[in-house]
């Protein structure tokens, strides 16, 4: 049972219709107009400072943790400095578009058209990208062979060093930067860094004063005390390091909000919260703080995570449906010595998700051979509730995959998760983890069409396919590097850089290469459909000689017109990826590995390397829309397999154990940027103590099979269909989309249907 306080705060989240907010855009632009001619990093710092000093703040009744990005929760914060174009185009469609709707007032529309758009037109990040990306790469993007992300929004995808914040406090960090400025007078980054840190301090002081004033006026004595405490804490942590759990939590949240004011980006993730918060938790418990109060604070924090949603363009919302902000937390794992690392707080974080059932934080656990069975059981109990969380990451493969990328053993053991499923070394990485997607199936289609008359053997087909993959990977790399440069030029993040190791030492913003690890992550998508399609060609065309390659390609181009019999044969008579059949599984594996080895050849502009991943978020729907019929029986425009590594919907006939086995045959050490596997269980399959034990055992086997990630949807298809029909009754139903959870009724129908279709394993 939730307390009345939490129940009320939770309901407040969904009470009002979501609004577009232009407040940040207005303050940002106001500052930019006054800083013409100054270096970009300084302008960005001053813009943040202007926002933090003027943005409207309030403290809501009952709140114990305070600090908002917008006074109205879940507002869509527009960033015309990233791209004013899509916003202008969609001004009239925000409230009616298929996915992620927002209301916007007439007054704001006018303000946008007359003030913001004219200023940013020609000056935004998008303009930089458009000017610098060559036509051939634009064509590749247009053909949906690749998708370049973050061309019209903040970069994000990073895990700041919260432990540094908590251990030092703001004053010490300010002093550190001041010393650096004394030594390096002409370094703009240090100056920008100082501006932002001081602005952060003053922003916290605004809340200290507000709560003080509110406390004075408050008649309710209990609430008065709470406000006094908020005020005391805020005054203290505006300068000093926190000592108690409450203080640490509040400072953590203020800084998280400031990251959003600066970047307005998804996936400024939380990292290993149970590790860096544990000392404060333990200390507060020892000092006699009631465990129930600690849990109540955490519930307040969970609600705060849900006040911030990401505003995306209609096109982008297809790829990332349901406003995921990527407040991803990782629990468990191993410590720096490689020993299992699970503590009381790890369990409590799971328990609170079970009470509160909201889509954020995106809770995740790390498992390995030494993870205590208790912890797997607890996680299994929470998974059974059906929110799709926690998602599960596997140390047994993820740690070695980082070693293979030249990360130290010590740092590899400390990996965490950014956004959905992207693997990252917290505190030390600027990883552009979601910079691009690569549509393997589209490249396959192009190869077939180009070469249908020349190819004489299956080996030749594979060869040509690989050549084309190599060719388009090059385009993707070039495009990604231009977007990388666009962020350096237009959107440095000096405040964030204070919290990434290496930046202060080197005097460089993360966008310049200040971080210790500098990756760019690019995802190969469609390997499961490719496995199935290649196998059909191998058998039907080259072994059984049922049909020539040219005939097949013609039939595919006609979308199996009049050949339903052949399509059915392809679906039913040739085994598919996901059923644990080596001959099929190895084909997709070979192609995905080729993709990975191509990607890892390249360097980015920050001196780091590209690393491959394989996850789709919800991109399997738009990327599938761009691919014609394929030999696996997939019709023109039909979605690709979901997740990244999941079998094509409906093609896995042997149950989830066979699915895991098929996935385990991919070279999962190579996709070090992260990969995604969806498994859906019917609630009946997990009934009782026995059901939980089986799920925990299933996760243990997953770990031994060296698969990077798995997540579970445990809601019956019937319930979801019911929710589609009667959305009003299911306002709070949280489901797994892809590496993140969202509220089911807020998703577009195509994605809802996709979630319903993903095979439900019961038996």
């Amino acid at each position: 049972m939730l307390s009345r306080r939490i129940e009320t705060l939770k309901n407040e989240l969904f009470k009002e219709k979501r609004q577009i907010s232009l407040e940040r855009a207005r303050l940002y632009t106001e500052s930019y107009k006054n800083t013409e001619g100054e270096p970009s990093v300084i302008r960005r710092a001053k813009a943040l400072s202007n926002i933090l000093s003027k943005v409207e703040i309030e403290i809501k009744d009952g709140e114990l943790i305070v600090g908002d990005r917008t006074v109205q929760p879940r507002s869509g914060v527009a960033s015309p400095e990233m791209s004013p174009y899509w916003i202008l185009e969609e001004l009239d469609e925000f409230s009616t578009r298929p996915q992620d709707r927002f209301e916007i007032s007439q007054e704001d529309k006018e303000y946008f058209k007359n003030e913001l758009y004219p200023y940013w037109s020609g000056k935004s990040l998008k303009d930089y990208c458009n000017e610098h990306i060559p036509q051939n790469i634009k064509d590749t993007v247009k053909a949906k062979i690749i998708a370049l992300n973050q061309t019209d929004k903040g970069q994000g995808h990073i895990i700041p060093d919260y432990s540094k914040l908590l251990k030092k406090g703001l004053k010490a960090m300010i002093n550190e930067v001041k010393e650096k400025i004394n030594e390096n007078e002409d370094n703009y980054f240090y100056r920008a860094s100082l501006i932002t840190l001081e602005a952060a301090r003053d922003y916290i002081l605004r809340y200290a004063k507000l709560s003080e004033e509110m406390a004075e006026k408050e008649r309710n004595l209990d609430r008065k005390k709470e406000l006094e405490e908020i005020s005391r804490i805020s005054y203290k942590i505006s300068e000093d390091k926190p000592d108690t759990f409450y203080e640490a939590l509040q400072l953590f949240w203020y800084i998280s909000v400031i990251f959003q004011h600066e970047s307005n980006a998804s996936s400024i993730s939380i990292g290993r919260f149970d590790k860096y918060m544990y000392p404060y938790y333990k200390k507060s418990l020892e000092e006699g703080i009631d465990i129930e109060f600690i849990k109540e604070l955490l519930r307040c924090l969970y609600i705060k995570f849900n006040t911030i949603v990401a505003l995306r363009s209609t096109e982008s919302a297809k790829y990332f449906a349901g406003f995921p902000t990527g407040y991803t937390i990782v629990l468990g794992g191993v410590d720096e010595n490689g020993r299992a690392s699970v503590n009381e707080l790890s369990y409590i974080m799971l328990e609170i998700l079970g009470d509160i059932r909201l889509p954020q934080p995106n809770l995740s656990i790390r498992v390995n051979e030494n993870t205590p069975m208790d912890f797997l059981i607890k996680a299994s109990e929470i998974i059974r509730l059906g929110t799709g969380m926690p998602q599960v990451f596997n140390d047994e493969v993820n740690i070695p995959s980082f070693l293979n990328r030249g990360v130290s053993l010590y740092d590899s053991r400390d990996y965490a998760v950014v956004g959905c499923v992207e693997l990252s070394i917290p505190k030390k990485t600027y990883g552009l983890h979601d910079i691009a997607l690569f549509n393997l199936l589209k490249v396959f289609e192009i190869t077939l069409r180009e070469k249908k008359s020349e190819i004489g053997s299956f080996e030749e087909l594979l060869e040509k396919l690989k050549e084309n993959i190599s060719k388009y990977v090059k385009d993707m790399i070039e495009g990604s590097n231009i977007v990388d440069m666009a962020h350096r030029q237009c959107a440095p993040t000096p405040f964030l850089s204070n919290f990434i190791n290496g930046c202060i030492e080197k005097g460089m913003d993360v966008t310049e290469g200040g971080a210790i690890y500098n990756f760019s992550g690019v995802q190969g998508i469609g390997a499961p459909n490719l496995s199935d399609s290649l196998y059909v060609i191998k058998k039907a065309v080259f072994e059984e000689k049922l049909i020539t390659l040219k005939e097949l390609v013609d039939i595919l181009e006609s979308n199996y017109e009049g050949r339903e019999d052949l399509r059915q044969r392809f679906i039913n008579k040739y085994p598919k990826y996901g059923n644990d059949i080596d001959e099929v599984d190895y084909l997709g594996s070979e192609v995905l590995s080729h993709y990975c080895r191509e990607v890892e050849k390249y360097k980015n502009i920050r001196g780091g390397i590209f690393q491959p991943g394989s996850y789709t978020v919800s991109a399997h729907i738009p990327l599938g829309a761009a691919v014609g019929a394929t030999p696996d029986g997939r019709m023109k425009g039909e979605q690709l397999s979901d997740g990244g590594l999941s079998p094509m919907v409906g093609r896995d006939k042997n149950g989830p154990t066979a699915v895991l086995k098929s996935v385990s045959k991919l070279d999962n050490y190579l996709t070090s940027n992260g990969s995604l596997l969806n498994v859906k269980f019917s609630p009946q399959a997990l009934e009782g103590v026995e059901g939980i034990k089986k799920l925990a055992g299933f996760i243990r086997a997953f770990s031994r099979l060296k698969i990077q990630h798995v997540q579970f949807n445990v809601i019956s298809a019937d319930t979801l269909r019911e929710a589609q029909k009667h959305p009003e009754k299911y306002q709070n139903l949280v489901v797994r989309v892809a590496g993140y959870s969202a509220i089911f009724v807020e998703l577009d129908e195509a994605i809802q249907n996709d979630i319903i279709r993903r095979t439900e394993h019961s038996f």
């Binding site: 039913n572 644990d580 066979a658 034990k693 089986k694 055992g697 086997a701 031994r704 394993h761």
Partner: protein
């Protein structure tokens, strides 16, 4: 050595401990009218026809289609039964070994009546024992004595069906010689010092689910030191398979038992000192 098998089902959650792989052997000496796997009864291969999957590529009537099942694009026509070598079965079973290990699962032999293919299952059980995989068998108990003795040396759990205890009715309705079954059961018990033996009672309205029959079963099994009984309530999941085989299903109009009826029987058995698991 080959066995006639009609299905190997991985990720089975309800046929013993943990996640299991169930091997369904084809062929059964009994003729239970409620059988939920009618395709398991004959030892020979047969064809199932599913009109709902038919796309009418050569005949719009699936039951009259002359196509070889291997040429049927949708699998509406399906050949049931496959001869498999010991190696092939072991390879299939080993695929989920990692899950057996992590969930305490294993392999369950089912059917049909696995004991009909006794030499094969004894060899299979020996191999599975060698690699440490937990094994169980679901049996009607109708097999050769020597096979039962040999099997009991290598198996972990025996799930033994008790259906109709009246000698005359058993012969008439399910073609079972109760004396042979009892004799076999006693042989198993004598040789079962390391084997977990669990009697299973299918609860079929009009046939087995009456107190008198259950009383007789309990009277019989009370002679042995057994603690646990599974009851398996009647379900209609097999009815479409009769249609697919072109056979008549005599129980198609029989209603499933309601919760209270099942609970009543459950209580009755518990009162006699057994622990009961519904559904096994």
């Amino acid at each position: 050595m080959k066995a006639m098998i009609f299905n190997i089902q991985r990720y089975s959650l309800h046929d013993g401990e943990g996640i299991r792989t169930v091997i369904f052997f084809k062929g059964c000496p009994l003729t239970c009218p409620w059988c939920s796997n009618p395709e398991s009864q004959k030892l020979e291969k047969e064809i199932m026809r599913r009109q709902s999957l038919c796309i009418g590529c050569s005949s719009t009537n699936c039951y009259k289609c002359n196509k070889d099942p291997k040429d049927c694009p949708t699998g509406a026509l399906e050949r049931i039964g496959k001869e498999m070598t010991l190696r092939e079965v072991l390879d299939e079973v080993n695929k989920d070994a990692v899950f057996f290990d992590s969930t305490g699962g294993g392999v369950t032999l089912s059917g049909g009546e696995p004991l009909l293919q006794g030499e094969f299952i004894v060899e299979l059980l020996k191999e599975l024992k060698k690699i440490g995989i937990h094994t169980a068998i679901e049996t009607t108990g109708m097999g050769r004595q020597d096979i039962i003795i040999e099997m009991s040396k290598h198996i972990d759990t025996v799930l033994w069906d008790f259906k109709i205890m009246d000698k005359r009715l058993a012969k008439e309705v399910v073609n079972q010689d109760i004396d042979v079954m009892k004799n076999n059961f006693e042989t198993l018990i004598k040789n079962s010092n390391k084997v977990e033996v669990i009697p299973r009672i299918p609860l079929i309205p009009h046939y087995t689910a009456n107190i008198e029959n259950i009383q007789k079963i309990l009277d019989y099994i009370s002679k042995f030191d057994l603690k646990l009984v599974h009851i398996l309530p009647f379900h209609q999941y097999g009815s479409s398979k009769y249609k697919a085989l072109g056979e008549e299903y005599k129980l198609k109009d029989v209603k499933t038992l309601d919760k209270n009826e099942i609970e009543e029987i459950n209580k009755f058995i518990e009162c006699k000192g057994f622990k009961v698991i519904i559904g096994g």
